[in-house]
């Protein structure tokens, strides 16, 4: 293959590259809002930080946003995660497994940790929302 033919690019699936080039639900929500749960996972020195936010009405996630510092698969994994949590109940979203993300994006083995991080981000955002709700109920 000649380089100027340009494909295939890296070991990434078309779906992953599509998410990277057109990330869904990019942005931020007001983390002080009682309706919003925020999960921030990873660390700069590890090369991955994901911030995933959910907006909840009742027990349903009505909106989600993300910002990610990380490689292409980290960005794609978090983009996909926001797409998947929208419209689900908190319990349904909490049940999302990283392996589903691996499968959907065809992540290469060295990138599986990106999907783990995305799962943790979802759980962390839900837990943040619930602890806010519990604090409000007690206060």
């Amino acid at each position: 293959m000649r380089v100027d033919e340009g494909e295939p690019k890296m070991a990434y699936s078309d779906k992953l590259i599509e998410h990277f080039n057109n990330p869904r639900n990019l942005g931020s929500m007001d983390k002080e809002s009682e309706q919003v749960g925020t999960g921030i996972v990873g660390a700069p020195e590890c090369g991955d930080v994901m911030k995933l936010q959910i907006k909840v009405e009742g027990d349903k996630i009505v909106d989600a946003k993300f910002k990610t510092f990380g490689c292409g698969s980290a960005i794609a994994s978090s983009s996909l995660a926001t797409e998947w949590v929208k419209g689900r109940t908190l319990d349904e979203a909490y049940a999302i497994k990283n392996t589903e993300i691996v499968e959907e994006l065809a992540l290469p083995p060295v990138k599986i940790h990106c999907s783990v991080l995305a799962e943790e981000a979802i759980k962390s955002a839900i837990e943040d929302f619930q602890s806010k709700k519990n604090a409000a109920a007690q206060g």
């Binding site: 380089v3 996972v41 660390a43 590890c46 090369g47 990380g70 490689c71």
Partner: protein
Amino acid sequence: MSIANEQPFRTPVYFDNSSTTRCDPRVLEEMLPYFSESYGNAHSRSHAYGWGAEKAVDLARERVAALVGSKPSEIIFTSGGTESCNLAIFGAARMYAEKGKHIVTTAVEHRSCMDPCRALEREGFEVTYLPVDQKGLVTPEAIAAAIREDTILVSVIFGNNEVGTLMPAKEIGAVCKDKGVIFHLDACLGLDTEPVHVDDYGIDLLSMSGHKMYGPQGTGALYVRRRRPRVRLRALSLGGGQERGFRHGTLNVPGIVGMGKAAELCLESRDAEKVRLTALATRMKDAFFAAMDHIYLNGHPTQRLPGLLNISFNYVEGESLMMGMSTVAVSSGSACTSATLEPSHVMRALGVGEELVHTSIRFSLGRFTTEEEVDFAVKECLDAAGRLREMSPLYEMVKEGVDLSTIEWKHD
């Protein structure tokens, strides 16, 4: 129609000359006959095919010798920089093991030098890995202080392949001469722009790579000093006695011819290329620094390979930045681009923070890089970095005035 088609150059534009350089067309042209009509074995002494091949190898040897100021008989052809470095380090260590079993090297060597040193430790040698400063330099004084009674070899990289810092090879050579220790310089990068002369620099062993100086891949050379002192090596393989018994095996005649031509071209253009590459890289660096905040040049600001720029774009991870600028061919120090997920030992030795290692991009310019390509690459990179910073939660926090070092990160 894509914009790329309107460019006066082909995309992706090539900014990875420290990985490999394009074989110069003049090199290729000189090599071609040795694949077809002139196919002799340089070791065949009984017929014209062999004599022709030997003559071609002799000329190449003269040309490589001229580049580094040695005698032709002191040049050993190898399969590349890795083999040259392995032969120099294993060969000298095993030959002089009875004299002593201590080696001095640095923490920023290429793996083709570092890993042989590690292997020698398992053979009972002791190795001192000298730390470098934040610019990637080791001082001649530190080398002198590390040399002991039983030190037999000092091995130092010349132009660093990751950050571009040029070691003070001449001063280190003087220390080694003074102490009577063999000095190996890994000069796989830098011979196309720096006037390295084996006598002026006090070099006993000098590793070279053909494909990093516009020659063919699979070619290299090792300079082995023959006089004052005569350096001997234990060969890595056994066979037909070629290359003074240091490197057995039928010579790669077309490759050697190419390496010779490449050396000749480097010698011709060396001083002018240094000026031209310095100007181009400065143009590139200045454009980045004028347009973007929170970016850092890694390595030494001035004492460096003129064509190599290693820049950290803070808050943007390196692999994603490379994906975002797919029209530019570069390398990254980010662990995410490597199979092992291990961040660079070189950047770590310089004390570059992990978060900046993850955000580093290496642009390496070369003989065929043009000003238009530089401007194009800068624009593509700035666009991608800007887009990714908008995606970066770290950049968002910094903009909000959060000090990232105060945050307790949630990770395993």
